[in-house]
Amino acid sequence: MTARLQLRELCGYRSGDKGDIADVAIFADDEEAYDLIVREVTAERVKQHFGAMVRGSVERYEARNVLALNFVLRDALGGGGPRSLRSDSLGKTLGGALVRLEIDVPDAFADRRRPRPDVTWADQILDALPKR
């Protein structure tokens, strides 16, 4: 039996740019999750996920030493930083966009949830500010 799960429950992420290429890495929380994403998150899936946002090819690289997959998205940033009209001309948000992807997972993974942010400290700072 399988369930569906967004990558956000299994992985961290970071992304950036080189010219018109976006580099997007995802970091699995443990080895079981890593084996799963190696199987499920293929270059083809990622290319399909980003659709028209990525005009070029997608390549995938494995870094098992840090339980990570690295994706190279070509022709993906509207021409590259100094040329692009996009707000995110440097691809910084594409990691977050990638972990929206839903994959098939075994039932044992179905209830996995990464903790959600608790920003009580931010509320405390903001509440103490002078306001009307």
């Binding site: 980003f50 840090v66 690295n70 977050g96 966009a97």
Partner: protein, 455 residues
């Protein structure tokens, strides 16, 4: 002997404040990494206006913090803040030192990364200068190159330090090579000791983005990072064999652990098994990372292979002018109002006879960033539209946005309009980037280090 190297800057615009923490904790070398592709473009625009500019203008702020420690013999400073004008940056360094009343400083400048005056010569020598990303031939280069910088490696930095430099200022030296230069000089590494060169490159790569290895931009439990408003900058304790501990100043905020370190390991990397650096091809997948104490991660086992026969170089070309405008819409039907206004703007611009070569519409609050990965918007409470456009000339780019203003009274309801990008809505010059490869020997034969004393 362990050498301590600090990463005191991650980009042009970073805060010099966290440099204090590195100097107080003690670093033998302070490396300030100031450049990115976008930065070179910004510096090019500066130099176009004023021949004495072209380096990162916050350099004096960093120097004011660091030079007293350098003059006291507590650290040495290495930076690529010279951008596309290292000579001018070195002049600023000398001036800053004098203003601070410091003496006994030897300031080195690394020259030779600037290929702009040499492009014809390089072509004659057989370099195609083809675009290494798109494959386009140099004959199709759009217009005149605005800058052309080779990514130099660590050797000229080692030459500068061997020559007694206290401060080393470079142009486009590869980010990680600043740190490799410090380690290779301190430990006397050889230029064919690929594993150690790879280790120094990996360590530099981890440190080159300042706070990003110490809890910044972190997608683990980022809200648990201690004192995130005062994030520290990182330190590498590098052993002669190339192994190292990545850490941060004691009693500082932030976090350095396996997870924060691996986040940085793959940042802006293509193939992690073959990271192409000027001095070595490093295999980042061969490294082992171990938590060895609170905020201490040991890095070891990195393997390297001989460097490629070419250096990367970056050229840029003028690519038109852009402008930008924003307007916001409230519930109900905020997304539909925003989309309709975008269409009205484009239509009015067309009716006014203004030539726009490219449009970009983003719907903030509905879907500005995720493209097809994001779910369709469902009754968002508000949506801000950001319209950006590219035109061939500056004047047209400037007036396109004005077509938005009358829509305040003549378009879908409850909009708030306003101009974006550089406050007054002035157009921005766009630059296209042209990466290429150049024979390292042809570059190296013009690389030189000059020294100046502050007495």
């Amino acid at each position: 002997m362990t050498v301590r190297i600090g990463g005191g800057q991650g980009f042009y615009g970073d805060t010099p404040a966290a440099v204090d923490g590195l100097l107080d904790d003690g670093v033998d070398y302070l490396c300030l990494e100031a450049l990115a592709e976008l930065t070179l473009a910004i510096l090019q625009k500066d130099r176009q206006r004023d021949e004495t500019l072209g380096y990162t203008r916050d350099l004096p702020l960093y120097l004011a913090k660091a030079l007293p420690a350098v003059a006291a013999g507590r650290t040495k400073l290495i930076t690529n803040a010279g951008g596309i004008n290292p000579t001018a940056a070195a002049r600023a360094a000398v001036e800053t030192a004098k203003q601070l009343g410091l003496s006994g400083l030897r300031i080195a400048t690394v020259l030779g990364d600037d290929l702009k005056p040499r492009l014809a010569e390089l072509r004659d020598a057989g370099m195609t200068l083809a675009n290494s990303e798109s494959g386009a031939e140099f004959d199709d280069f759009p217009g005149e190159p605005l800058f052309a910088s080779a990514y130099l490696g660590a050797r000229p930095i080692v030459d500068a330090l061997d020559g007694g430099a206290d401060v080393v200022i470079t142009g486009r030296v590869a980010d990680a090579a600043l740190f490799l230069g410090a380690a290779a000089h301190a430990h006397g590494w050889h230029w064919d000791d690929w594993d150690r060169l790879a280790a120094g490159t990996l360590i530099g790569h981890l440190l080159e983005c300042s706070g990003q290895v110490a809890g910044g931009n972190y997608t683990g439990e980022w809200w648990t990072i201690p004192h995130p408003w005062d994030l520290p900058y990182p330190i590498a304790e590098v052993e002669p064999d190339g192994s190292a501990v990545i850490t941060k100043p004691k009693d500082s905020g932030g976090r350095v652990d396996f997870d924060t370190v691996r986040h940085q390991l793959l940042y802006e990397v293509h193939d992690p098994a073959a990271y192409l650096a000027p001095d070595v091809v490093a295999d980042f997948t061969s490294a082992a990372f171990t938590d060895v104490g609170t905020d201490r991660v040991r890095v070891e086992g990195v393997q390297g292979a001989p460097a490629t026969p070419t250096y990367k170089a970056l050229l840029a070309y003028h690519a038109g002018w852009s402008g930008e405008a924003r307007a916001a819409f409230s519930w109900p039907d905020a997304y539909e109002k925003a989309k309709a206004t975008a269409a009205l703007l484009a239509k009015r611009v067309e009716m006014a006879g203004l030539a726009v070569d490219e449009w970009c519409f983003e719907y903030w609050g509905a879907n500005a960033l995720g493209g097809p990965t994001a779910p369709p918007p469902h009754e968002p409470p508000e949506v801000a539209i950001r319209a950006a456009w590219r035109c061939a000339d500056e004047r047209t780019a400037a007036v396109v946005g004005r077509q938005l203003i009358p829509l305040t009274l003549s378009a879908p309801p409850a909009g708030f309009t306003g101009m974006g990008r550089q406050g007054g809505g002035r157009p921005t010059e766009l630059l296209g980037i042209w990466p290429t490869l150049v024979d390292r020997k042809l570059v190296d034969e013009k690389v030189r280090v000059t020294f100046e004393e502050v007495t």
